[in-house]
Structure formats: C-alpha cells, structure tokens
C-alpha cells in the first residue's frame, strides 16, 4: 500500500529498552482530513493566518475546562520513570516517543504562554514559542500515542499522557489539521450510525446471512434481531463485529449466549456502533453526540438492559463516562434520563459488559458450556488497554482482569498468562489503539506491537499457545494485520466469545429464573 517500506523489528527473548535514535520516527504523518470531513466536524481544513492565536486560545480553553490537563502539565519533575514504559518508544527507539518527551511537546508551549516564569525567562524553564515546526511535531507524535495510559501507571504523579495527546489533537483540529482516519469515522457514525458506514439494509442482509450460517453449522435457528421493540437487552457492539474476521465470530457467540439463556435481545440500526472515536480526539461534545445515539436507541426500543460487546474504548466510554455524558448509568436528572432510569432494570449493572453477562449465566447454571470443544486451543489473554486501565467490570476491584479470565477458563481447558509485567494494569497496547488503526500509520503500528508480540512469543515457545483472546475490535484488527509481519498466523487472535461460541450448548435445558 501507500505506506513506506520499513524494517520489521526482531523479536528478542525479553523486552529490551533500546538505545535512543533521535528523529527516526519524525517522518510519520498520518493523512490529514480533507475539507468535507473537517467541515462536517465544524473544524477548519487548513491553517489560517491566525492559527497561532487560535491554538493558544484553544489551549487556554482546555486548561480552563480540564483541571487535570493543567495539573499534568505542571506536575512533571522529569524523574524518568515513564521513559521505558511506552510500547512506541520500545518499538521505535525515537526518544520523542518517551511519554515525558511527548508531554514536553505541549509543556514547553504551555510554560511559554501560561506561566509567569515562562513568559519572563523562557530559556530558564524550558519554555518555547509555538512555531509551525512544533505544530508539525505535535501532529506527528500525537499520532504515535495510542492513549493507552500504560505510562500513567508508572508515573509517581499519575500524569496521564493520553489526556495531553487528546488535548493536542483537539487543538490541531481546531487550527485546521485533523486526522483523516478518525474524523472520517466520526462523520460516518453520526450520519449512518456506525464507523464502517454500513447502512441499515446492508446490516440486515449481513445479519440474515449470519443466521443462515449458524443454522447450517448447528441446526439451531439462532437469531440476530435488529430494531425489535420491547425486548430485554439492547446490545451495542463495534460495527467491525458485523463486517470483519475474526470479529464476526464473537458476534455469533453473543447471539448463541442470548439464545441459550432465552434472553430476548436486539441490535439497533440507529446505534449500530459501540465505538466512540470522540474519546480519541478529546472532544467532549463529539463524544457526547456519539454516545447519545445509544441512549436514544435504548429509549426508542424500550429495553430493560444495555449490554456492550467486545470493544475496549467503547467500554471505557460506557462504564466511565455514560453516566455524566448521557445519563444511562445514573446521576443525570433531565427528563429523558429519568425516563430511561425508570425503564432500565436495576437488578443488573447498567451498562453491563457482555463478558460479565455470559460469565454470570454460566455461574448461575442458566447456560451450559463444554470446554473440551476448544481442546485444540492453547489460549492466552491480551488485556486491552481501555478495559484494563480505564474501566472495571463486575462488582469487585480488578473485575476487568478477573471476569474475562474466569470466562476463558470456563470455555477452554488450556490457558496460560503472559508475563506479569505485560498484563493486567501493566498490559502493553496492541499498537493500533486511540485512532492509529490506519494503513498510513502501519510503521508505527508494527513497531509499537513489538513488546506485546515479544511476550506472546514467550508463551508460544514455552506453552505452545496458539490463540490470543482479546475483547477489543481494534486489538483484533491490529493483531490480524501485524502478527503475520512477525511470522505468526493471523488466525491466532480472536475474541473471548469466539471461544464461547464453540463451547456453549445450544440445546441445554434452562433452569427457571
């Protein structure tokens, strides 16, 4: 494709901290969004003469709105704890991919325009004017951060580079340099209902085809209903689940679980996407508009429960932000929120993750599974960053680590974790999150996957692992593309519900509620 050729890193026995190579990734430039895409989002599509003032104004606006941003820009003491924690630094050796350096790209400008010392004695405090060169560096290096927040786990002050990246991208959008990939998707989800741009009739045709496939495979008429009013569950899931391999295998898994448990459910054509790229751009209003589709669909369909499929950042937005964004959780007090709260069944978490739902059903004996159906599999689990570090699952601390693993162990007999410092809250990003899952960033994606691939290779060598389960559409797409570059088969990645799909018994007798 259009992306430049580059060398694939070599997998070593352990994850090594590379010697720095300044500027080796400075050439990276994701395609900028063209005029129609920027117009729809309400952003300019080119730098005006007043771009610098607009940038500084926007930075001031964000500093006023988000106290966290100001704290993160003020608090860093350059201790260096984060320097070897970013997968993009470990994979590329470019020192600007050290989290502290990524933050400093904005911090130097912040100091110059927003601190007294920086205004008076810029050189003494590392403050710098905002120049076109700095802006270009922002565009390059804020699109070499997947907002995965691994660095924040190791920072003694808890500085979250992801928020600085988000602010950087918001300022860039505001002055007229948007990213084509993310902004095009944000247009499609608002105009058509999902990131893929899959119109209703195509979605219906696809779901019908899947129903035929499942019935042919199993002999059981498992349904994939859409826009059905008055059912118990609304399932929102990434649109990749309708479109791609291996994603679709998990969609089939969800459908089998609902069928086996006798739970009535529906998808929504209006909200046929769980993902919310508004998060990646750091634009609260966009994130809210995208999230509102789901609240609207829930009200329109009159469902009692909202369940989220295998999507990392969707789960972060749902679990952590829906309550204040749209009132689906609790806490909002507008008439629609109140109506929705009355409508929802509070015997269940709202929203609930599909893994928690399935795990509970197995625990309660409401569905049966046969793990021997997956005896050809030796499985490991990749914690997706947004699930691991930005949300929770279930009602216990660490539920987001425990529930997915519990569920896997119920449906497979052979499971091995990867090394401790690469999983749970220290998990390494797949390398394609946060709006980087685009062909024009393939070099960043392949190199950024190196730490995860190194850890995977160890369990492949030591335990014969042949499948890495994960619960994020981006992780699945990213690994499908980059694992072959490292010599692994693309089919060794897939969702947890791909495993559930094989193990769940469709003809099992159900116990009464």
């Amino acid at each position: 494709m259009a992306a430049a050729e580059f060398d694939i890193p070599e997998i070593k026995e352990t994850i090594e901290v590379p010697k720095i190579h300044e500027g080796v990734m400075a050439h990276v430039k994701s395609f900028p969004a063209p005029k129609p895409v920027q117009d729809f989002m309400g952003y300019p599509h080119e730098l005006g003469e007043d771009w610098k003032e607009r940038a500084i104004d926007k930075m001031g606006d964000l500093l006023g709105k988000y106290r966290s941003l100001k704290v993160f820009l003020d608090a860093c003491v350059h201790c260096g704890a984060c320097t070897d924690k970013c997968h993009y630094y470990l994979g590329t050796s470019d020192p600007k991919n050290m989290p502290v350096a990524r933050q400093d790209l904005m911090r130097q400008v912040y100091r110059r325009y927003f601190t007294t010392a920086g205004k008076l004695f810029p050189k003494l405090v590392g403050a710098k004017d905002l120049t076109r060169e700095t802006l270009d560096e922002w565009y390059s290096y804020y699109h070499q951060c997947s907002e995965c927040r691994r660095c924040s786990v190791f920072c003694p002050y808890g500085i979250d580079t992801a928020e600085i990246t988000m602010a950087g991208r918001e300022i860039l959008n505001h002055v007229g340099i948007g990213q084509k990939y993310s902004n095009e998707i944000l247009g499609k989800v608002q105009k058509i209902g999902n990131n893929l741009g899959l119109p209703g009739p195509a979605l219906e045709d696809t779901l019908q085809g899947l129903e035929e496939d499942i019935e042919m495979d199993t002999g059981v008429p498992v349904k994939l209903p859409i826009d059905v009013k008055g059912v118990e569950v609304l399932l929102v899931t990434p649109s990749a689940d309708f479109f791609s391999e291996p994603h679709v295998e998990s969609l089939i898994g969800y459908a089998k679980v609902f069928h086996a448990a006798g739970i009535s459910w529906t998808l929504s054509s209006h909200a046929s996407e769980a993902g919310n790229f508004g998060l990646f751009n750091g634009n609260y209003e966009t994130m809210r508009k995208v999230a509102m589709r789901i609240r609207d669909a829930a009200l329109e369909l009159g469902v009692k429960r909202i369940v989220v499929g295998e999507c990392g950042h969707a789960w972060r937005v749902a679990y952590s932000f829906w309550n204040t964004l749209t009132g689906i959780g609790y806490g909002a007090d507008d008439p629609f929120s109140i109506e929705l709260q009355k409508q929802l069944d509070h015997n269940y978490p709202q929203p609930q993750h599909i893994c928690e739902l399935t795990n509970d059903l197995i625990n309660q004996g409401k569905i049966q599974v046969d793990p021997s159906a997956n005896d050809d599999m030796v499985v490991t689990y990749h914690d997706s960053c947004n699930v691991a570090r930005a949300s929770r699952m279930g009602d216990m601390p660490g539920g987001q680590f425990i529930i997915p693993r519990d569920l896997i162990k119920k449906v497979v007999n052979n499971f091995h974790n990867m090394a401790d410092d690469t999983i749970y809250e220290s998990t390494f990003c797949c390398g394609g999150g946060g709006g980087l899952l685009t062909d024009d960033l393939m070099e960043v994606r392949v190199k950024g996957a190196l730490p995860r691939v190194t850890a995977l290779n160890t369990v492949v060598q030591e335990h014969g692992v042949n499948f890495m389960a994960t619960i994020c559409a981006i992780c699945k797409a990213q690994f499908t593309k980059v694992l072959p570059k490292y010599g692994f088969d693309m089919s060794m990645v897939g969702g947890i519900h791909q495993l559930v799909s094989k193990a769940v018994k469709l003809d099992a007798p159900k116990q009464a509620d």
Binding site: M1, K180, A202, T206, D439
Partner: protein, 111 residues
C-alpha cells in the same frame, strides 16, 4: 487530490490510490490498480471484483467478509468460500485491496 492518467483518461484518486469518483471505474482502471497493488488479475480475481461492484450498487457499502466468502463459495466452489482463499487472491486483505481494484471506497473503522 492527485490525478492519474489511466488508458488515456484522467482520473482522480485519493492519497491511498482509491478512486474518488466511482462512476469513472472501468476495467482499465481495475487493471491499473491491480498493478499498483502487485496483484495479477485472474478470472477468480474478477469474480470477486464483480461481486463487490454488484453488492455495492445495491447496498452502497462493500460486503462484510462473511457475505463475500459465502458468495465466492457459491460461484467458485465451497473449497474457495473462505477467508484464507480470499487472502491468497488479495494478500493485503480482501476488504481493502479488492475494494480498491473494484473502484469502491475504502472501508473504515476497526477493521
């Protein structure tokens, strides 16, 4: 957007080489795109390309991978109705590479 001259016709493509105006597509353009993608077009490739175009004309989107594999299985035999076979034809991925040759817009999202 860059313009390229294909068999005497000026056509506009985007940064990644996808055709901007779908109505301009013809077999020469498909052949040109295939050379760019280092794909040798055989009859089996054309089956995929033609199916993509038919599906797009009806639904305004490329078919999901499952829809495509099933259709190809029906046309070329069940042993070819799978993802692996499609990747043999279009090594960069049927969704993106075959769409480009067929003159369809690039699918976006978490794919």
């Amino acid at each position: 957007m860059p313009m390229v001259n294909i068999a005497g016709k000026e056509v506009e493509v985007d940064e990644e080489g996808y055709l901007v105006d779908l109505s301009q597509w013809n077999e020469d353009i498909a052949k040109y795109m295939a050379v760019e993608e280092k794909v040798d077009l055989t009859e089996n490739h054309w089956e995929v390309v033609n199916f993509l175009r038919e599906y797009y004309a009806e639904y305004q989107i490329a078919p999901a991978v499952r829809v495509l594999t099933k259709a190809i299985g029906k046309k070329l035999g069940p042993e070819k109705g799978n993802n692996k076979y499609l990747y043999e034809l279009f090594p960069y991925g049927p969704a993106k590479q075959a769409c480009k040759i067929a003159g369809l817009p690039k699918p976006t999202g978490c794919i």
